[in-house]
Amino acid sequence: MTRILTRHTDQPDQVQLDVARRGGAYQGFEAALSRSRQEVIQEVEASGLRGRGGAGFPTGRKWSFIHPAPDRPVYLLCNADESEPGTFKDHYLLKRDPHLVLEGIAIAAYAIGAHKAYLYLRGEYASLAMVMAGAIEQAKAAGILGDSCLGSGYGLRVSIQLGAGAYICGEETGLIQSLEGRRAYPRVRPPFPASAGFLDQPTVVNNVETLANLPWIMTEGADRYAGVGTGRSAGTKLVSLSGQVSRPGVYEVTMGRPLLQFLNEEGGGMPPGRQLKAVIPGGTSVPILSADEAAGVTIDYESMQAAGTMLGSGGMIAFDDTAQMPPALLRIAEFYAHESCGECTPCREGTGWMAWVLKRLLAGEGRVNDLDLLLRTGDNMEGRTICGLGDAAVQPVQSFIRKFRPEFEALLPPAPDPSPPWQRHGHGPRSARMGPPAVEAALSEPVEGPPTASL
């Protein structure tokens, strides 16, 4: 298979500039600098590279929305917030090949006409900030970064910003807000960051892994890149494999690789004596697949979509047959309830309610219609929020309940007598106004709210 991102990640001392350069580091940047910005954008568009942060938006196209003007500085923001549960691929790249990431940043910045780039790292990656700061210093000292990168006359400064613990800073407009020193409340779009982003200037936000593909595209060419992978999924994907599996870790996979083959070969299969029960293919924000569904799926955008899920961040979480779905889902729901920034009502209230209802179910205090209540809550959130977190929170809840419903039903109180009240009590139809017994019971109890969402 073609290795694009992990060619040097096992090389000892790869963090040292001279070692990295011996392996070809910054040759892609040099190649980019020898061409015009438009040519670089065209090359990346032709490669078919799509964003690896989760949404899969074509990278070259995103860049083409930037129109530099003399009085408007352009910014490149490298998104290293990596907080999607089950995702640690950017961690791996930053730690093992910081110059690859830095070179990707430099190429993208040049292409969009930015002279300032920020690397926004989640607060928990403070140790990686040290690694990246070292790489930046070395590159500056060697004249790769600075007022005239590699003697080209193009100037670029790269700064690191560490976050302070909030998942929403990974959402691109949340990231911009955080970088501006504000609460990371996502912004309503339009305007899109390409026209008014960081400090209201034209801005591109790209994921670490997306940028790490650029050096290879620059040296090997768009055609070669487009030839790796399948159809609309060009190149390779880093998969962060974790959960109940023999060999968790980060693996570079050619797009189109059958999921189960990957799990069994690279991942070493399930722990001894266990069977695969389910797998979340792209971080907790995408629908889970049962083992049967996973059997037909390949690791690429199209196949995941056809299976009703998404490639997302590539955070693959395996569940074996000992896993219990209700507590797992509660944990995931609690994550979103904790991380909802609280800016919009459907997400703030919906995530709180979903976690609350799941919690009472698991505590043995569920009500007969709780599963439908959970599904309905999700329906009322989807598409009604400012950013993608609201939708993301709904995916695990709906897919877990739909695909593993018996496990959730087992937690419900005994079903009420299904016959209508008038038959039971011998009343006339008027008493039907009281509604089904469950609703009656629910209404007669005080309405409890979820714990106050933290703002």
Binding site: T87, E124, L179, F335
Partner: protein, 157 residues
Amino acid sequence: MRRLSDRALAEIETARREEDSARHALLTALRVVQEERRQVGPDEVVQIAALLSLSPATVEGVARFYDQISEEATGRQVLSLCRGISCQLCGADPLAREVLDNLGIEDGGRTQDGSLTVRLVECIGNCDQAPTGMLDTAFVGPLTSTVLSELLTRWRR
């Protein structure tokens, strides 16, 4: 009000000068002060506000948004135990319970001598080492009862 160290003041000043907007330095200031004082409480809020020419309300509002900036002082060291889904699947819950019970504290609590705070946190991006956690900024894992008790003994000394 205790003064911030020269090192901290210099770090904040650098961030303020280097960046394109003074406000931008706020996140760095919060981190620097949290590290030095182990909290960003009312005193710290006022100090940061004065340094960056912002209102205390602005600083307070931003400080309370982020999990790693704490209003109450943490212990001299912070042990963060991941309770994310991958760690949960690998047995994080009983481990965390054991640690908290042994120390006689709850999630977010501080040991009586003030030396250690234990927090249960969301996925820290180290899931292949599940169950995992962090001692201050260092990743630790995979955690077992033995590894954890060793870690805690070393910390006690």
